[in-house]
Symmetry: C2
Subunit: 247 residues, 2 copies
DNA sequence: TCGGCGAAATTGTGATCACATTGATCCGAA
DNA sequence: TTCGGATCAATGTGATCACAATTTCGCCGA
C-alpha cells in the first residue's frame, strides 16, 4: 500500500554520463550538464516535476550535487521553483513564448555577427557536418537528434567569439524553450521542419554580416513562430500536471 | 603564525537582513537576495573572493544556504568559479564591458517598451520618487544610494509588465556590471554622473514608446560608455587579486 | 458521491561531517 | 639565492541526517 506523492515516471534521457557530459570536475558540474542537455534537447517536457531524490537515484549520486545542479538550472530559467518549493519544468504560454522569440531575435543575430570574423575553415567544416547531421535527423524523423543538432549548429557559430555575456544569455534561452519545442515537434513531426541553416552558411562563406544576422533571425522566426503558435493557440502547454501539483 | 590562504577582508555590505531582503521563505533564498543586492549596488568589488564559510560566518548561517545562493548567483554571471574551484567576483575588461553594454541596449529598451502600456499613475509616482532620491544621492556623493536608486528606477519600469524572460535576463546583466560600476563611481565621484531619467519619465508621460526606448538606450550609453571606458583604458579592473589567487 | 480529517509518505532544507583539493609557508639542499 | 618538497590550513565537495513542510491516501460521515 504505497502512501505519499505519486512517483513521477523516470526522467527519460537524464541518464548515465555519455561522452558529451562526462568530463573531469565536480560531480555537481556533471549533473548540471546532463540536466541542461536534457532540457535543451527536450528530453523532459513542460510541466514535468523534478525531485532531488528522484534525479539522484536515477543518476546514481547523492542528492547534494543534484541540489546544486537544480539550483543552477533554475537560476537560468530552465526549471522553476513553486511557492510550495517543488521544482518542475515550466509550462509554456503565449506571452512567455513571445518573449523568448523576441529575446532570441535580439541576441542571437548579434552573437552571430560578433562571431563571424572568428569563424575559420575548421569551424565552417564543422558547421557543414552538423548541418548534414540535421538533415539526416529530419529524414529519420529523429526529433531529439534534430534538436541536438540545431543547438550545436547555433552554438558552433556563436562560440567562435569568446563571449562571456551574450552567449550565456542565449544558452539560458535555449534551456527555456527546449522542452516545449520537443513537445511541439513530437506532435507535428519532423516533416514540418525545414532546415534553414544553408542560408546562414552561405552568409558565413560570403563574410556578409548583415546576411548572417538576417539568416539567424529568419531561422528563429520561421522555426519558432509559425509552428508553435498553432499549438499554443489551444492554451498553455504543460499546465495540466503543474496545476495538479501546485499548492 | 597563521597558515593557509590570506583571509579576505569581510565582505562589506553583505550583512544582516534588512527590510528589503528579509522575507519569509527558505534561508538560501534570503542569502541569495542579500548577495545579489550586494553585487548590484557594488558593495563587493571585482576581483574579490567569496568563500562559503566566510560568507556563512558573516551572515550567521551554515554554509549550506550559502552554497545554494552562490550557485544561483554564479549561474547568473555575478560570480565566477575558477578552475581551482574558488569563487570570486569577476574582473572587468574591455570586451566583457562592451558585451554588457550591448546586451543592455538590446534588451532594456525592449523591456521598457513592453512595460509602457502597463505603467499606471501609481507606478509613475513611484518612479518620480525614486528619481528624486537619486538626485539626493548624487548631491550627497552617496554612490551606493545612487546605484540602488538607479537599479530601482529601471526595474520599476520593466516590472510593470510581468516578464519571465526579458527581465530576468536584464537582472543577470545588472549583477555583472554592478561591482565594476561601483569602483568606477568611487574613483570619479558622483559629480561625474548625470541623471538622465527625466527624459524617460517624459516619454512615459507622453506614452511615446520610441522616445522611451531612445531614452533608456541613451541612459545606458551615456551612463556606461563614456565614464567607464576611461577606467578600462588602463586595463582590466579586478585582475590584480584574481591573478594572485588563480591557480 | 463528495468533502473533511488524520496519518503516512515524500520532498526540500539546513546542519554537520569527513575528505579531496588547493594555497601558503617553511625548511633544506644545491 | 633559488628551487623543490613537506606540512599545515583553508576551501569546496559529497554524503548523510534530522526536521519542517507539503502531498497523498484512506477512512468516515453526510
Amino acid at each position: 500500500m504505497k502512501r505519499g506523492i505519486d512517483q513521477p515516471p523516470p526522467l527519460g534521457g537524464v541518464g548515465p554520463p555519455d561522452d558529451e557530459t562526462a568530463v573531469d570536475g565536480p560531480l555537481h558540474d556533471r549533473v548540471y550538464r546532463q540536466l541542461r542537455h536534457a532540457l535543451v534537447t527536450g528530453r523532459i517536457v513542460p510541466g514535468r516535476a523534478v525531485t532531488l531524490r528522484g534525479l539522484a537515484q536515477q543518476l546514481g549520486v547523492s542528492p547534494m550535487p543534484v541540489r546544486e545542479a537544480i539550483r543552477r538550472v533554475s537560476a537560468e530559467g530552465g526549471l522553476v521553483v513553486g511557492a510550495n518549493r517543488r521544482v518542475w519544468v515550466p509550462a509554456m504560454d503565449g506571452e512567455r513564448y513571445d518573449e523568448l522569440i523576441r529575446a532570441r531575435t535580439l541576441l542571437e543575430p548579434e552573437a552571430a555577427v560578433r562571431a563571424l570574423p572568428h569563424i575559420d575553415r575548421e569551424r565552417l567544416d564543422r558547421l557543414r557536418d552538423i548541418d548534414d547531421s540535421i538533415d539526416v535527423a529530419l529524414e529519420r524523423g529523429d526529433v531529439e537528434a534534430y534538436m541536438a543538432g540545431n543547438h550545436r549548429f547555433h552554438f558552433e557559430i556563436y562560440a567562435a567569439n569568446p563571449s562571456r555575456v551574450l552567449v550565456p544569455l542565449i544558452e539560458s534561452l535555449w534551456l527555456q524553450f527546449g522542452p516545449f519545442m520537443r513537445s511541439v515537434y513530437g506532435r507535428l513531426g519532423t516533416a514540418a521542419l525545414v532546415d534553414h541553416h544553408v542560408v546562414a552558411l552561405d552568409a558565413i562563406i560570403a563574410r556578409d554580416a548583415e546576411a548572417l544576422a538576417a539568416a539567424i533571425r529568419a531561422d528563429i522566426l520561421e522555426g519558432m513562430e509559425l509552428i508553435a503558435s498553432t499549438v499554443l493557440a489551444a492554451g498553455p502547454v504543460g499546465d495540466e500536471e503543474v496545476d495538479r501539483r501546485r499548492a
